[in-house]
C-alpha cells in the first residue's frame, strides 16, 4: 500500500532552494540588456502635477528614458493607475525613469523637477464626514453610478458624536435582520462602545518588485504576486492584451498577506516601460516604497451596541462602521458586519457602513480582512458582558458561537460545516481553562495576570476550479499548479489528494508551478484562504480523471475490465497483469484522444484550455473541473487562548502563553498548519499590541514607515513554546475534507490579547488598537489620553 500523504509532515519541494538562497524571487531574474527603473513618488497627500521638467535627468549619462502617467492605462472614478499626475496619497508613483543601473536611475529621479499644486486632503475618515471638511477627491468623496458626489453627515450627527452619544446617521450601506429595537428592549444588559481599529501596512518581507521584457509581441513578466495564473490574467486585463501573449513567471513570493493577490498595480510599469524602450526593465521596489504602494488594512471608527439576555446570549447588535478606504476603496467593513453576525448569532442585527475615501495609501485585503478587525474589538466586549452578568467567559463564548444551523448576514448565509464550539472545547481542555482562568487578576509584584479567549472565523474555500496533471513516460506525476507560492506550501500540499488517489509515493510527484509557459490550469487567486479547499478539490477531480484513464489504458493494454485495475506504488495491476505508470504514459500517448490531452473535457475553463494544449502528447493527462458542488459558504475557525502579564507601573504587556485551536476540516499537513495558526496569530497580536501607522495631520503623511518604527512582531516577541491544535473534523462537502486556514488565526491572536489585556485591567476595555504601554498606563494612572476616543492614525 502506498504511503498515506494526507495528514503527514512532508517537506515542500521548494524548501531546499529557499534555505540555501537559490530560490529565485522576482528581483533575482536577469535578462540581456536589462535596465533598472526607479519611481518618483508624490511628496504630498493630494496634488496635481502642473509641470514636469526631466531635461536634466534625461541628459545624464546612462539615463535611457522616462515613463509618465500619460503612457499608462487609466480609468474614470476612484481607480488606481500605475502612474498618475493626480496623486491622492503621499508616495503615489508619478513617473518612472530607466537607466543602465539603479544608482543612475535614482540620481536621475533626484534631478527631475515636478511642480505640484497641493490640494486639500482628508486623512481621518470620520473627520472627513464633518460638514465642510475636505474631501479626498476634488470631485467629492463618494462615487456611484451617477459619478462623484459629496457625502457628509449632518451637524446634528456630529453634535451627538461629540457628546459621546450613539449616532444615528444616514449610511450608504445598511442591512438589518430581526427586530433590533424590540430585542434590545428584552436585553438584560446593553453594552455600548466606540471602537477604533487602526490601519496597518502589510509589510511582506519581499516588496512588490517585478521585471519585464518583450520578444516580438510576447511579454515576459517576472512578478512578485500571491497568485500565478490569476495574476497573468489580471496583467493581461490591465494592459488590454491577449493573456496567451504573456509568459508569466512567479516562482516564489516573499509574502503578500492580501496585498499582492492578483499581482500589483505597479507590475504594469516594467511591462509598459520595456515596450517603450525595447529593453528589459527591472523595477526593484524598496522597503520605503513598499510602505506606500504596498497596500494597507483599512482602519475602522465604529459604534457598537450589543444586547445580552440574562443567560449571556447576545440577542441584538447595532453596529456602525466608518471605514478608511484610502483613495481606491476597500470592502472590509461589509465583511466585518457579516462576521459579527456569524460569530455572535444575535438573531437581531442592524449594520450600517460608510466607506470613506481618504488621502492615505491604498487599502486592500489584509489577512482576515474585516474579520480580524471586528473580532479583535468585539471579543473583549463579549467578555465584558460575561463579567457583568456573572458568567464564565469560556461559557459565554460557547453560548454565542454558532452551531451547524447558523444562517448569518442579510441573506441568511449557511455554512458547509462549523465546529467553532469544538475548537473552543478542545482549546479549553488543552489550555486548562479552569485552572488558568483562576489566575485572572492575580497580582505578582507590579504585574497582573490577564487571561483571554478570541474566537475568529474566516472564509476558507471556493469551488469550481480546474485541476491538471500529467503522468509522463518517466512514471512520475506532474501536478500543474496555477496557484501561487507565497510560503504556505499549498502548491505542494494541495497535490496530495491526487497522488494518494493514484497510489503514488511522494517521491514520484513533481510539482509544476510558477511559470505559465509550463502550462498552468485556471486557479483560484491565492487569497481568502481558498487554495487548500479549492485545489484539493480540483486536484482530487483531476486525480480521479487520471485514475480512470490509467485503468482504462491498462485495461485496453492488458485486457479485462478497467474497474478491476488497482493502482499502487507507481504500478497499475489487474486481471491482465501489471504495468508501470511510465508504460501507461507511453501507451496513453499512443492512444491519443482524451488520454494524452488531444481531446479535452468540455467543462474545463477557457483559461485552462491553452495550458492543457501545451501538455498534449506528453503523457497521460488528468484534467477536470471541480464539479463536486456544495451548499453554503466555507469557513474555518480559530479559538485563541492567551495568558498575559500587565505591569501596572509601566503599561507593558508580556505574552506568557498562547494556544490556537482550529477547525479547518481535515488536516493536510500538520507542521504547515501549525505554522499558519501560530504565524497568523502572531500577526494578529502585532496588530492588537505593537504595530502601528501614524499620520502627521498637518502634512498628511505617514510615519512608522520603517520596520523598526512600524513594529510588526517577530520571533523574539513571543514565547518559544506557543501551542496549537486542531479539531480535525472533515468538512462533509468536500472530498478531502480540508478547509483553508490562512486568515482566521489573525483575529484569534489579536482578540485573545485584547481580551487578556482587558482582563488584566479588571475588565476595562480600551476598545482601540494598538494597546501600547502609553495608553494602558494613561488609563491605569487616570491620566487623559492626548487624542479623541475616535481619532484615527495617532500614537
Amino acid at each position: 500500500m502506498a504511503e498515506k500523504l494526507i495528514g503527514t509532515d512532508i517537506a515542500p519541494p521548494d524548501l531546499h532552494a529557499k534555505i540555501t538562497g537559490r530560490a529565485k524571487y522576482a528581483e533575482d531574474f536577469r535578462a540581456p540588456g536589462m535596465v533598472f527603473a526607479k519611481l518618483l513618488l508624490s511628496p504630498m497627500p493630494h496634488a496635481r502635477v502642473r509641470d514636469i521638467d526631466a531635461s536634466r535627468a534625461l541628459a545624464m549619462p546612462g539615463v535611457i528614458d522616462i515613463l509618465t502617467a500619460d503612457e499608462v492605462p487609466s480609468r474614470e472614478g476612484p481607480r488606481e493607475a500605475a502612474l498618475t499626475n493626480h496623486p491622492r496619497y503621499e508616495g503615489e508613483p508619478i513617473l518612472a525613469v530607466a537607466a543602465v543601473d539603479e544608482e543612475t536611475a535614482a540620481a536621475a529621479i533626484e534631478a527631475i523637477r515636478v511642480d505640484f499644486e497641493p490640494l486639500p486632503f482628508a486623512i481621518d475618515p470620520l473627520e472627513s464626514l464633518r460638514p465642510g471638511s475636505p474631501n479626498a477627491y476634488v470631485e467629492g468623496n463618494q462615487y456611484g453610478q451617477e459619478g462623484w458626489s459629496e457625502y457628509k453627515w449632518t451637524a446634528a450627527d456630529f453634535a451627538a458624536i461629540d457628546r459621546g452619544e450613539f449616532p444615528d446617521p444616514e449610511c450608504p450601506v445598511e442591512w438589518s435582520k430581526g427586530d433590533v429595537e424590540a430585542a434590545f428592549a428584552e436585553s438584560e444588559l446593553i453594552l455600548e462602545e466606540t471602537i477604533v481599529h487602526q490601519s496597518l501596512t502589510h509589510h511582506p518581507m519581499e516588496p512588490r518588485t517585478n521585471m519585464a521584457y518583450w520578444e516580438n509581441d510576447r511579454l515576459y513578466a517576472f512578478v512578485s504576486t500571491q497568485s500565478t495564473q490569476a495574476t497573468k490574467f489580471a496583467l493581461a486585463g490591465a494592459l488590454e492584451m491577449d493573456p496567451e501573449d504573456i509568459t508569466f513567471v512567479s516562482e516564489y513570493c516573499g509574502g503578500g498577506f492580501g496585498s499582492k493577490i492578483s499581482g500589483t498595480t505597479i507590475m504594469q510599469v516594467p511591462a509598459l516601460f520595456s515596450r517603450k524602450i525595447g529593453r528589459p526593465v527591472m523595477l526593484r521596489i524598496t522597503r520605503y516604497e513598499e510602505n506606500y504602494i504596498g497596500r494597507a488594512r483599512p482602519g475602522f471608527q465604529s459604534w457598537l451596541r450589543m444586547g445580552f439576555l440574562g443567560n449571556g446570549k447576545c440577542n441584538a447588535i447595532d453596529l456602525i462602521i466608518v471605514q478608511e478606504s484610502g483613495p481606491y476603496g476597500a470592502s472590509d467593513f461589509n465583511t466585518a458586519g457579516m462576521i459579527a453576525d456569524l460569530t455572535y448569532t444575535p438573531g437581531n442585527m442592524r449594520f450600517r457602513g460608510v466607506p470613506v475615501y481618504t488621502n492615505t495609501p491604498p487599502k486592500a485585503a489584509q489577512r482576515g480582512p474585516g474579520g480580524a478587525q471586528i473580532i479583535s474589538m468585539m471579543e473583549p466586549i463579549l467578555e465584558k458582558a460575561a463579567r457583568e452578568l456573572g458568567i464564565d467567559r469560556y461559557e459565554i463564548h460557547m453560548l454565542n458561537a454558532p452551531g451547524p444551523d447558523v444562517a448569518f448576514g442579510p441573506r441568511g448565509t449557511t455554512l458547509t460545516s462549523v465546529h467553532a464550539r469544538e475548537a473552543l472545547e478542545l482549546g479549553a481542555e488543552m489550555f486548562d481553562w479552569e485552572a488558568k482562568s483562576a489566575l485572572s487578576g492575580q497580582r505578582n509584584g507590579t504585574k497582573v495576570t490577564g487571561i483571554g479567549i478570541g474566537l475568529s472565523p474566516y472564509t476558507a474555500g471556493s469551488r469550481d476550479r480546474d485541476g491538471m496533471m500529467v503522468i509522463r513516460p518517466d512514471g512520475k506525476l506532474y501536478v500543474h499548479q496555477g496557484i501561487g507560492n507565497l510560503g504556505t506550501h499549498s502548491i505542494a500540499d494541495t497535490a496530495r489528494p491526487a497522488a494518494e488517489l493514484l497510489g503514488l509515493s511522494w517521491d514520484d510527484v513533481v510539482i509544476v508551478w510558477g511559470d505559465t509557459s509550463k502550462g498552468l490550469p485556471r486557479s483560484t487567486v491565492q487569497a481568502g484562504s481558498q487554495t487548500t479547499h479549492a485545489h484539493t478539490r480540483a486536484n482530487h477531480a483531476a486525480g480521479m480523471d487520471a485514475l480512470r484513464k490509467v485503468r482504462e489504458v491498462a485495461a485496453a493494454t492488458l485486457g479485462g475490465s478497467a474497474a478491476a485495475y488497482r493502482v499502487d506504488n507507481g504500478r497499475v495491476s489487474g486481471p491482465g497483469g501489471s504495468m508501470t505508470f511510465g508504460q501507461v504514459a507511453q501507451r496513453a500517448i499512443a492512444m491519443g484522444g482524451e488520454y494524452d490531452g488531444h481531446v479535452l473535457p468540455e467543462d474545463i475553463h477557457e483559461q485552462t484550455v491553452p495550458a492543457a494544449q501545451m501538455l498534449v502528447g506528453q503523457g497521460l493527462l488528468g484534467i477536470a473541473r471541480d464539479n463536486y458542488g456544495g451548499e453554503g459558504s466555507i469557513y474555518s475557525w480559530v479559538a485563541g487562548f492567551a495568558v498575559v502579564e500587565l505591569d501596572v507601573e509601566t503599561g507593558a504587556v508580556e505574552l506568557k502563553e498562547y494556544l490556537g485551536v482550529t477547525d479547518c476540516g481535515t488536516v493536510l499537513h500538520p507542521r504547515s498548519l501549525g505554522a499558519q495558526v501560530l504565524g497568523g496569530s502572531i500577526q494578529g497580536m502585532g496588530m492588537a499590541m505593537t504595530q502601528r501607522w501614524v499620520f502627521d495631520p498637518k502634512w498628511g503623511v505617514p510615519f512608522a514607515n520603517r520596520l523598526y518604527t512600524a513594529r510588526p512582531p517577530g520571533m523574539l516577541d513571543v514565547p518559544a513554546n506557543l501551542r496549537w491544535g486542531s479539531v480535525g473534523i472533515a468538512d462533509p462537502q468536500t472530498p478531502v475534507g480540508a478547509k483553508g486556514i490562512g486568515e482566521p488565526p489573525v483575529g484569534a491572536g489579536a482578540a485573545a490579547l485584547t481580551c487578556a489585556v482587558a482582563d488584566a485591567m479588571g475588565g476595562k476595555c480600551l476598545c482601540r488598537t494598538p494597546l501600547t504601554p502609553d495608553i494602558i498606563l494613561a488609563e491605569l494612572e487616570g491620566r487623559p489620553l492626548p487624542f479623541g476616543r475616535l481619532d484615527q492614525h495617532v500614537g
Binding site: A107, G651, T690, F703, P773, P786, F787
Partner: protein, 332 residues
C-alpha cells in the same frame, strides 16, 4: 528634489588600521567625512540619502579600538567592541552587570553582534521628523515639526527641550552614567576625558549634535572606574515591542550600601530628554535611606519635577516616575 530612499549613494570608503590614521583622515575630510562604526545608524542615514558624506572612515579595521581590558582602576572598553561582546564579557557581567544588562537590551542579537558600544552612545536621535529629512532645527532648519500642536510626538522628550524635542536613543548611555564611566575622546590635538554625563549634550548647547564630539573627534575608549564595581544595580527599559525597539523610558541606577542604608547612588534615565538625564536631586534624596517605599515615592516625584509633556507623551511622566521608584525600591 524628488525623494529617493533605501539606496546608498557612492562614497569613498577609507579603512584606516590605527587611531592615528583615522584621526588624520578625519582632519583631512572634516565635515565631508563620516566615521563608521557598526553602521546601524550610519547606513540608515546613507540609505535615505539624507546624509551624503563624500568619504566614509570605517573604524572596523582598527584592532586597538576593540576589546575589553582590565586597567589599573577598573575596566576599559574599546569603542569598537560589539554589544554582544560586552553583554557576554565575564568581567563586566560580574562587576558592572548593569552595563552588560543595558547592552543586552539593545534591539536584537543580530544588531548587537554588529553594533558597537561607541556607536551606541554616539548614535543620532530617532525622531522620525528629523529622520525623514525634514528641515528641522537639528537638520539646520528653523522648525521643530515634532513639537507642532498636532504633531506625533509620543516618543519625544518631557524635559531638556530647547526648540528640539528629540530624545537620546541609547540603551547603554544611562548605564554608563550610573557607573560613572569616562569617555575618552581623541582628536589630532590629543585625548580628552569626559564624564559620561557630560559627554551627551542637549539642543540648547548644540542642536545639531547629541554629544560633545565635533567632526574631528573620535570616541576611542570608555573606562569604567572600579569605584562602582559590584555595586547594587538596577536597569530597566520599557519599550513597545519586546525586541528590536528603542526605549520609551529606561532607567539605570547604581547604589552603594552600608548595611541597609544607601550611602551613595547614581541614577540616570533615558528617553525623557534629548540627552540621558542624571538625577542628582533624587540621588541626594535617597542617600541615607534604606530605599523604603516612602523614599521611593518621593524619589519618583523629585525625578519628574519640571517635566512637561508634549501632546502625545504625557504617559512618560508617570512612566519615568514609576521606573525611578522601582529603581529605588530595588535596594530595599
Amino acid at each position: 528634489m524628488a525623494k529617493i530612499r533605501d539606496m546608498i549613494p557612492a562614497f569613498e570608503l577609507l579603512q584606516p588600521t590605527s587611531v592615528e590614521a583615522a584621526l588624520d583622515l578625519m582632519d583631512e575630510h572634516r565635515e565631508e567625512g563620516w566615521v563608521l562604526a557598526g553602521g546601524l545608524d550610519s547606513f540608515d542615514w546613507f540609505k535615505d540619502r539624507i546624509k551624503r558624506p563624500s568619504a566614509v572612515i570605517d573604524l572596523g579595521g582598527i584592532e586597538e579600538l576593540k576589546g575589553i581590558r582590565e586597567v589599573a582602576n577598573g575596566v576599559e572598553i574599546g569603542a569598537m567592541t560589539s554589544l554582544t561582546a560586552i553583554e557576554r564579557d565575564e568581567r563586566i557581567r560580574s562587576r558592572f552587570s548593569i552595563v552588560a544588562d543595558a547592552a543586552h537590551h539593545v534591539a536584537t542579537p543580530q544588531i548587537r553582534n554588529q553594533g558597537t558600544i561607541g556607536g551606541n552612545v554616539s548614535q543620532d536621535t530617532r525622531c522620525w521628523y528629523y529622520r525623514s529629512g525634514w528641515p528641522c532645527y537639528r537638520a539646520g532648519g528653523n522648525t521643530c515639526y515634532a513639537a507642532a500642536p498636532q504633531a506625533m510626538n509620543r516618543e519625544h522628550c518631557i524635559m531638556g527641550r530647547s526648540r528640539c524635542v528629540a530624545v537620546n536613543p541609547s540603551d547603554t548611555a544611562p548605564a554608563l552614567i550610573a557607573v560613572d564611566a569616562k569617555m575618552i575622546v581623541e582628536n589630532s590635538g590629543g585625548p580628552r576625558v569626559f564624564d559620561a554625563e557630560d559627554f551627551f549634550i542637549g539642543p540648547s548647547i548644540d542642536i545639531t549634535r547629541m554629544t560633545v564630539m565635533g567632526p574631528r573627534d573620535l570616541l576611542t575608549r570608555i573606562q569604567i572606574p572600579a569605584t562602582w564595581a559590584d555595586a547594587d544595580f538596577y536597569y530597566e527599559k520599557v519599550r513597545d515591542r519586546g525586541s528590536w525597539d528603542f526605549q520609551l523610558v529606561s532607567v539605570a541606577a547604581a547604589f552603594r550600601k552600608s548595611g541597609n542604608t544607601i550611602q551613595e547612588a547614581r541614577i540616570a534615565v533615558n528617553g525623557v530628554a534629548p540627552y540621558p538625564v542624571r538625577l542628582e536631586a533624587v540621588e541626594r534624596r535617597i542617600v541615607g535611606s534604606t530605599g523604603d517605599e516612602a523614599t521611593a515615592q518621593a524619589a519618583g516625584e523629585i525625578a519628574i519635577r519640571g517635566a512637561q509633556a508634549l501632546r502625545h507623551n504625557d504617559y512618560k511622566i508617570p512612566m519615568m516616575r514609576n521606573l525611578v521608584r522601582r529603581a529605588v525600591r530595588s535596594v530595599a
